[in-house]
Symmetry: C2
Subunit: 160 residues, 2 copies
């Protein structure tokens, strides 16, 4: 395949931006991701692509759970903050306050407009990212009027 | 889970719109889908959620291949045309011309700005839609300047 064409064709896929989180004991992982989609209504499943060598991959796999926090249109700076390694500082993750999710304990970021927690049902490891299929087990909406952040509006891309 | 909250939280995921296609002998399937994401760079994998009782699910599973045709921002009418059952009429699919993909023979719609063909590596059947993980094996871009159609711009939603 011609690499420029591959990049162009795969970057035509439309994405949002989310902060994926997980926790195991004192270890926290929180990273900005975009490879995410619902995958079933009943049961409510999602599928996510997590980088094989990432903290979120490690903890989502070992604990069998993660949370997705959806970024709002004006929260590009928060997306950027979670490109960096995860640091627990003064009870915050990379400077952002959180609470433990009710079902899995996964960190829920208080500034982000909505979230869900999910329990992993399958992990398919075939590439530099793995496919996590997971059942949504709890949900929350903090700011119902917020518009989600679309990748295309940021000028960034991750894919190709 | 409270159903309205679940709907709101899951509809915060950002999607594009695509026509997924497959063929087996004289049988064609072409349907508008939105549950699609890349899932690895190397190898280039994608993941798609196909409705369990759909034609595209049946043919993608039996042949192990499908194509994704990305809709352009002005092609909401084409998205709508492929909500309907697939009909081969005068050599068109639901009225739209196509050619056979070079690697898998899956139909490529000539009016759509870009496409890729993929070979299925895994199918996870846990819900009313299945997760198809597939390796991208060929790509094409017909209209490089086209902007992809975003689900949120259509006023439609599929998720929740």
């Amino acid at each position: 395949m011609e690499q420029d064409t591959k990049k162009k064709a795969l970057r035509a896929i439309t994405y949002g931006l989310y902060v994926a989180t997980a926790v195991e004991g004192e270890h926290y992982a929180a990273g900005t991701v975009n490879w995410l989609s619902q995958a079933s209504f009943t049961p409510p499943l999602v599928m996510a692509g997590f980088k094989a060598d990432s903290g979120i991959h490690a903890l989502a796999e070992s604990t069998g759970a993660f949370a997705i926090n959806t970024l709002a249109a004006h929260q590009k700076d928060i997306a950027q903050a979670f490109f960096k390694p995860t640091e627990l500082v003064d009870g915050t993750l990379n400077g952002y306050e959180f609470e433990a999710g009710p079902e899995t304990g996964s960190p829920l970021l208080l500034d982000l407009p909505s979230w869900f927690e999910a329990r992993v049902t399958d992990v398919i490891k075939k590439g530099d990212h793995s496919v996590f299929v997971a059942e949504v087990v709890s949900v929350g909406v903090r700011y119902p009027e917020a518009m989600p952040l679309a990748m295309r509006e940021t000028g960034w891309s991750y894919g190709g």
